[in-house]
């Protein structure tokens, strides 16, 4: 059991645990911070999957973007939201939540079953790429390859995304824009 396995386990544990905490805590702020932790843990896991660029993007966009956005939103939706959230059911398991648990557990079973059945490591193409050393080594740097791919193979989505983001910008701005009726 070498070090990176240990680290991986820790990361995985942290990710799951924090996610669970997000699920448990009724306090929005706390759950947000737990989510923050989850995201970092996930970034770490990405690194383990040798996708450091993705990890960085994760940190930048999510932590820097999404989370802050959420905080903003939380701030904007003011206090008494918090209150009625507080006194709402505090226990982790309650009748109201049983359906949710049921579905979640069912999914867990189904997914685990499916994953184990699939034997991801024994997949043919995985093996094949392992042989044709199409596998990313920890040593080699993938970033410029990604860059090239984005500009060639994934050019279309890339461009589309730009339009999409622009549209999102317009739309979100429109929605968020506060104006008093002048009718």
């Amino acid at each position: 059991m070498n070090i990176d396995q240990v680290l991986f386990c820790v990361m995985g544990f942290v990710a799951l645990a924090s996610a669970l905490l997000v699920a448990i805590s009724n306090n929005l702020v706390r759950s947000l911070f737990m989510f923050f932790v989850t995201l970092f843990a996930l970034a770490g896991l990405y690194v383990f999957a040798l996708a450091d660029f993705v990890a960085v993007t994760q940190v930048v966009i999510y932590v820097g973007g999404v989370l802050v956005l959420m905080l903003f939103a939380f701030m904007l939706s003011n206090k008494e939201v918090l209150n009625n959230l507080q006194q709402s059911n505090s226990k982790f398991i309650s009748v109201g939540k049983l359906p949710a648990i049921l579905v979640a557990v069912l999914f867990a079973i189904v997914l685990v079953n499916a994953i184990l059945k699939a034997e991801p490591d024994a997949l043919q193409w995985v093996k094949a790429s392992a042989q044709s050393n199409n596998v990313i080594k920890p040593t080699d740097n993938t970033i410029n390859n990604i860059g090239i791919n984005l500009m060639t193979r994934y050019l279309l989505p890339f461009e589309i995304i730009s339009v999409l983001l622009m549209m999102t910008l317009i739309g979100a701005a429109h929605l968020a824009r506060r104006e008093e009726h002048k009718l």
Partner: protein
């Protein structure tokens, strides 16, 4: 040795937790968090498999797009939720139920 199934199982776990959050939380923003968790689990899968796809980098590229799109979606969602808050003075999805039947 870290196997793919480890990644996938962690992803599955996140997925389920995300589902749970979505269904159980009484706060739209938390529901969004749940959604983000699911997306992240998916991204984790992609990345994990992407490791075996050096040439195309399909997995990682997809992961990047996924992150970006998620962000965009979140932005829109939050904007809408804010509007809801303005109208209903709550962001509890179960209390916003004028439209039904």
């Amino acid at each position: 040795m870290i196997t793919l199934s480890n990644f996938l199982l962690i992803g599955a776990g996140l997925f389920c937790i995300g589902i749970y959050i979505i269904l159980s939380k009484r706060n739209a923003i938390q529901v969004l968090i749940g959604i983000e968790l699911i997306i992240n689990s998916a991204i984790l899968n992609l990345v994990a498999f992407g490791k075996y796809d050096k040439v195309n980098n399909a997995g990682q590229a997809f992961a990047l797009f996924g992150i970006v799109l998620a962000a965009a979606a979140v932005a829109v969602a939050l904007a809408i939720i804010l509007n809801v808050y303005r109208q209903y003075k709550t962001i509890d999805p179960t209390k916003v139920e004028k439209l039904k039947g």
